[in-house]
Amino acid sequence: MTDTPSERPRQSIKPKWVRGPQDFIGGIVLVAVALFALWASDDLQGMHGFTFGPGTAPRMFAVLLLILGAGVAITGVVSEGPKLARYSWRGPLFVMLAIVFFAVAIRPLGLVVSGLASFLISALGTPETRWVETLIVGICLTIGCALLFPYVLGLPMPLFPRFLVQ
């Protein structure tokens, strides 16, 4: 399940009866994940006789999660709890961009290009980055990794862009 939760702070619109929004939303999301899992494992065969089918255990855990998630959500209703934490967008955005870029680029462009580029993209994640030192460290790290992984550790991966090698 790779559904990425995308809750935004919603203190302003939260209803009065939710006293612990952090737990309330948390529980609701768990319930949603459980429901999703129940739907996703719907096609699997269940118990026949006393033999487990492939769907038995997933459904069992999903139902458990459903109950527990509901419990967490109820806690958020009946007892006072912390507010929703604030999410920032800059760090997550650029770190994720760097990761996705690396995944897309590693095969066609190789370790050197995609490593350095990812380094620079993720450095955008904070306003405090100073570009000269970042560039120097990035180059050093890329060289280090290019030596470490394929040569020292013997893990095969492309180093340079495909169109240059051919």
Partner: protein, 503 residues
């Protein structure tokens, strides 16, 4: 007895080969190197460094991992003492007196006593593993599927009790982990479960992938929230006088021994004894001390006891893993991940079929401990300098290193994206105060639990009472239930107190 020496001899024979010594040394060094970096705990360190052991033969890989583990733990203690940032839960208590000592200019003795205490504890625990290994393996043979299932329930409940915060939320995290572990092919029927026809999901979610996302990437994003320059209260004094005085030794030796005993016992229990061991050892020391007011103000016993206890526990927690094949905590779970990658299924069979591997690893734990003393203490100056590396340079390096590491596991770009997605999930979990460690444990135990539950019910012909009618299983279940009640009760009371205060 002869068996014991034979086994240890065999182990040291494997571990002392030059190559394995080198691997252990490199592991301990690299582990400390990464573990010292602020904001990277033991689990994240082991997860990050897992890929660099892939190219090695199984024995070497495990020896190196053990070295990394100890190095990372020691790195955590170093940051606790020098910057007041515990790398992980087990070194939280160390900050109490360790950081005070550092402020008084006695960081050297604090670091030294942490290492010496860990080493003494490690020696004792190594012997204990060797002594208990064989009998426990025999006990494991008496375990049927029902007993295994009950033991895992007990272990999970233990993990819940030890997680900080709400018990309900911790259980929810375990179940979420169990559910995530169901993704992929069913072991018995081969049916594809919740994989949505994505070929990369057919084998299930990679354990290292999830760990790296939830612990590595999520931590980075979280740290960026507060601005890259975390206010680090680094001790600025020069570290002088590394060696503890005679008085220090006299004060800490008894504490080390008590911590060792406490830690060894608590470590054997499944469910992450290391955390509780360090807390228990600290409280115990404070209770029996003639000058309890000194604790929290730089008492050396307050560093010695928890450090030796958590190391003893860390070591003895290998016992349930090696004899029963059940990882008692998240780090051990990663070790299982590493073993499976090398085609080893931990459990009693390994003890019998590959004794060189098991005993080699046990011996190398001891050597790893020794190396920490010999190498790390003289290098304290370097570790301190590492602490000053600004986060704005560190975090992109970690991102790239992790990305390359995950890619190298299966040469699969999809894994990298998945780890990123789990990074977001982990970030969300942190924001909602869900603990990620139980999730990881649930993920590892999921397939094992399903398999044993299946078998137990098949043998009992669908009769669920088998878990309470078989004596061994009943005892384990009762212990689990008792623990759960204990864990819930104080929360209930506290909640009630809060209500009263408000009323």
């Amino acid at each position: 007895m002869a068996d014991l020496f034979h086994n240890l001899f065999l182990g040291f024979g494997v571990a002392v080969s030059p190559v394995n010594l080198m691997l252990c040394l490199i592991g301990a060094l690299v582990g400390t190197l990464v573990g010292v970096l602020p904001g990277i705990g033991t689990i994240a360190t082991v997860a990050m460094l897992l890929p660099i052991t892939f190219g090695l033969p199984p024995v070497g890989a495990l020896i190196m991992l053990a070295g990394i583990y100890y190095g990372a733990q020691y790195g955590g203690s170093t940051t606790s003492i020098l910057v007041n940032i515990p790398g992980e839960a087990t070194s939280v208590v160390t900050t109490l007196d360790g950081f005070q000592m550092a402020k008084q200019g006695r960081a050297g003795p604090a670091l030294a006593i942490a290492a010496i205490g860990s080493f003494i504890a490690g020696c004792a625990a190594t012997v204990l593993i060797a002594v208990l290994g064989a009998p426990l393996t025999k006990l494991a043979l008496a375990f049927g599927p029902a007993e295994y299932f009950s033991l895992m329930v007990l272990g999970l409940i233990f993990a819940v009790v030890l997680a900080k915060g709400s018990v309900l939320k911790a259980i929810a995290m375990i179940v979420l982990g169990l559910l995530l572990s169901m993704v992929g092919s069913d072991i018995e029927t081969g049916a594809s479960r919740m994989a949505f026809n994505i070929p990369e999901l057919a084998d299930g979610l990679g354990f290292a992938t999830v760990a790296m996302g939830v612990f590595g990437f999520a931590e980075i994003i979280r740290n960026l929230d507060t601005g890259a320059e975390m206010d680090r209260e680094l001790v600025q004094q020069k570290i002088t006088g590394l060696m503890p005085t005679k008085k220090d030794m006299m004060e800490s030796l008894p504490a080390i021994f008590r911590g060792t005993v406490l830690g060894s016992i608590l470590g054997i229990l499944p469910g992450g004894g290391a955390v509780i061991a360090s807390f228990a050892a600290y409280t115990f020391e404070k209770k029996i001390s003639r000058e309890p007011q000194k604790f929290g103000r730089g008492a050396i016993a307050g560093v010695a006891a928890p450090e030796s206890a958590n190391n003893a526990a860390a070591q003895t927690s290998f016992i349930p893993l090696l004899t029963l094949g059940i990882p008692p905590n998240a780090v051990m779970a990663l070790m299982v991940g590493a073993m499976t990658i090398h085609g080893i299924v931990p459990g009693p069979q390994v003890m019998q079929k590959q004794p060189d591997l098991v005993w080699g690893m046990i011996a190398s734990m001891w050597i790893g401990n020794l190396m920490l003393i010999i190498i790390n203490l003289p290098l304290v100056g370097i570790w301190v300098r590492l602490l000053r590396v600004p986060y704005r340079l560190m975090f992109p390096s970690i991102v790239v290193f992790c990305a390359i590491g995950i890619y190298s596991i299966n040469n699969a770009p999809v894994d990298v994206v998945l780890a990123g997605a789990f990074g977001l999930v982990g970030y969300w979990l942190i924001k909602h105060e869900f603990e990620p460690a139980p999730l990881l444990l649930g993920m590892v135990l999921g397939p094992l639990m399903e398999e044993n539950l299946r078998r137990a019910l098949l043998i009992s012909r669908g009769d669920w009472s088998v878990f309470v009618t078989r004596p061994l299983s009943a005892v384990l279940m009762a212990a689990a239930a008792g623990l759960l009640v204990l864990a819930v009760l104080p929360t209930l009371r506290r909640k009630r107190d809060e209500v009263f205060v408000e009323g």
